[in-house]
């Protein structure tokens, strides 16, 4: 292939030039190409980052009573926090995962003790962790949210099965968009009991833990959630919780 053979078609003359073979060595060329490929491979970003879209409420003064209208039985407050050492570095557990903790309580805070003086002994605050699924079963805070949003999730699971079998349409894009629209309808169906989640984060909570909390909303198909600021009561409740558990 890389040789060019010069032949003189059998007409051999005496003293004719010797058959010449021009051989081009491609090895350096390949070497160089490989280097270039390596360069481009390392420089490219093959995986584009993903985004999580959120909508925050406006900063304008919203009537507090309006905000608290959510039914008490549906409301659940999550407070995310991350354990840090004295230098502000995140503490890691045995598996090298950061120690992200989520406290939660359902409905209104129920306090034992004198709230006005800040001497709270106990509350309905509970602690959970962010855990991934194990063999398809939800764990940690995901399980708690899953149980609260069961009605919606059951319907969505049915839709998902239909979507997988392409029951909405044989066209892939049509199938996807119909599924998306139906899923959205279910998520916002006010006849079902759906939780309202208030997410709060302590100042030392890592960005990862807040994203984790928002992620749980996605996973559990919760359509009503908001990010709120910590108030004094929340801090007191966490303090009381830690005291109770001797930490």
């Amino acid at each position: 292939m890389a040789q060019i053979e010069q032949s003189d078609k059998g007409k051999k003359k005496k003293g004719a030039q010797k058959k010449m073979s021009i051989h081009v060595d491609f090895t350096p060329m390949v070497d160089m190409n490989m280097l270039l490929i390596t360069f481009f491979m390392l420089c490219t970003t093959m995986i584009k980052s993903q985004t999580l879209q959120i909508t925050l409420p406006t900063n304008e003064k919203v009537d507090q009573t309006e905000m608290n209208k959510a039914k008490e039985s549906e409301a659940i407050t999550m407070i995310v926090t991350t354990e840090r050492d004295a230098e502000g570095n995140i503490k890691k557990d045995e598996n090298g995962k950061p120690k992200n903790i989520v406290y939660f309580y359902a409905g209104k805070p129920q306090l034992v003790g004198d709230a006005a003086s800040g001497a709270i002994d106990d509350s309905n605050l509970e602690q959970a962790e962010f855990l991934g699924n194990e063999e398809g079963a939800a764990r940690g805070i995901r399980k708690i949210l899953h149980n609260r949003n069961k009605q919606v999730l059951e319907k969505i699971d049915k839709l998902k099965a239909q979507w997988r079998n392409k029951e909405f349409s044989t066209n892939k894009d049509m199938n996807d968009s119909i599924y998306q629209a139906k899923a959205k309808e279910v998520r916002n169906d006010s006849t079902l009991t759906r939780p309202v989640v208030v997410i709060k984060a302590t100042p030392e909570a890592s960005w990862e833990s807040l994203i984790g909390a928002l992620d749980e909303m996605q996973i559990n198909q919760i359509s009503r959630y908001q990010i709120d600021n910590m108030n004094h009561m929340d801090t007191l409740m966490i303090e009381a919780f830690k005291r109770k558990n001797n930490r």
């Binding site: 060329m29 993903q50 909508t55 984790g212 992620d215």
Partner: protein, 239 residues
């Protein structure tokens, strides 16, 4: 006895085919690659199950360093000739810089910032920027290596776009001036992307304290930019 003659075989391997393949691969990588954006700080984004891709065109990316310093990078249309005007990254950056500086001069008549045509040109080629308005002229007149050195030094006080808790829309802080200028850039596609929440992407390291990022989110809320995207990496439900 007949001697068995062992034919000597040449060990030369023909590399032409190999070369063909490598050239093809090279072409593929050259055409598909988008270079990594140079950023003042490398951040590891947290992961989420969301599968929405980050747009490459018409997006303003707000980068928050773990120290709380803010940087912005702007990309315009992928194809500069759509949307009725020339809205490629470079043109839109020029437009935004002019708008932002004139707004700043209007708010701070005592400390006007004057930029030459050349400064604007240099700015349009910057991937991400993050210096206060007052330091902008001297920053843009530096050589590229000096610029990189300044912008990656998180200990300097003149790095990062100044940001505070200002909630008063008549006295915008510098970050708010920039975001407002980006919103008012004149390219309708960018404005509508920002309205939909695709046009603003907030990127922060996963270990950054929430209080630091909240500062930026609060400022965006003040500007009534309530919808935006948070940059994340992909994970599955099992992690």
């Amino acid at each position: 006895m007949g001697k068995v003659k062992i034919k000597r075989k040449s060990t030369l391997i023909d590399m032409t085919a190999m070369s063909d393949v490598t050239v093809l691969l090279l072409t593929f990588f050259m055409l598909t690659s988008t270079f990594l954006q140079k950023e003042p700080v490398t951040v590891l984004t947290p992961s989420s199950v969301s599968e929405i891709k980050v747009p490459t065109a018409n997006v303003a990316q707000v980068l928050v360093s773990p120290e709380g310093k803010v940087f912005i990078s702007i990309s315009g249309e992928a194809d500069p000739n759509v949307a009725g005007g020339e809205w490629g990254s470079e043109q839109i950056r020029k437009e935004i810089l002019r708008k932002a500086v004139s707004k700043y001069n209007e708010l701070h008549p005592g400390k006007k910032v004057n930029l030459t045509e050349k400064d604007v040109d240099v700015f349009s080629k910057l991937g991400s920027f993050g210096v206060p308005f007052q330091a902008l002229p001297s920053f843009l007149r530096m050589s590229q290596t000096e610029q990189d050195k300044v912008i990656t030094d998180m200990k300097r006080s003149d790095v990062g776009i100044p940001i505070d808790d200002n909630k008063d829309l008549s006295k915008l802080n510098e970050f708010q001036i920039w975001m407002r200028a980006i919103y008012d850039s004149g390219n309708e596609n960018l404005t509508s992307a920002m309205k939909k929440g695709e046009g603003i992407a907030v990127k922060a390291d996963k270990d950054t304290p929430y209080s630091t990022v909240q500062h930026v989110l609060d400022n965006l809320q003040t500007l009534k930019m309530n919808r935006f995207s948070l940059m994340t990496a992909l994970k599955t439900e099992n992690d």
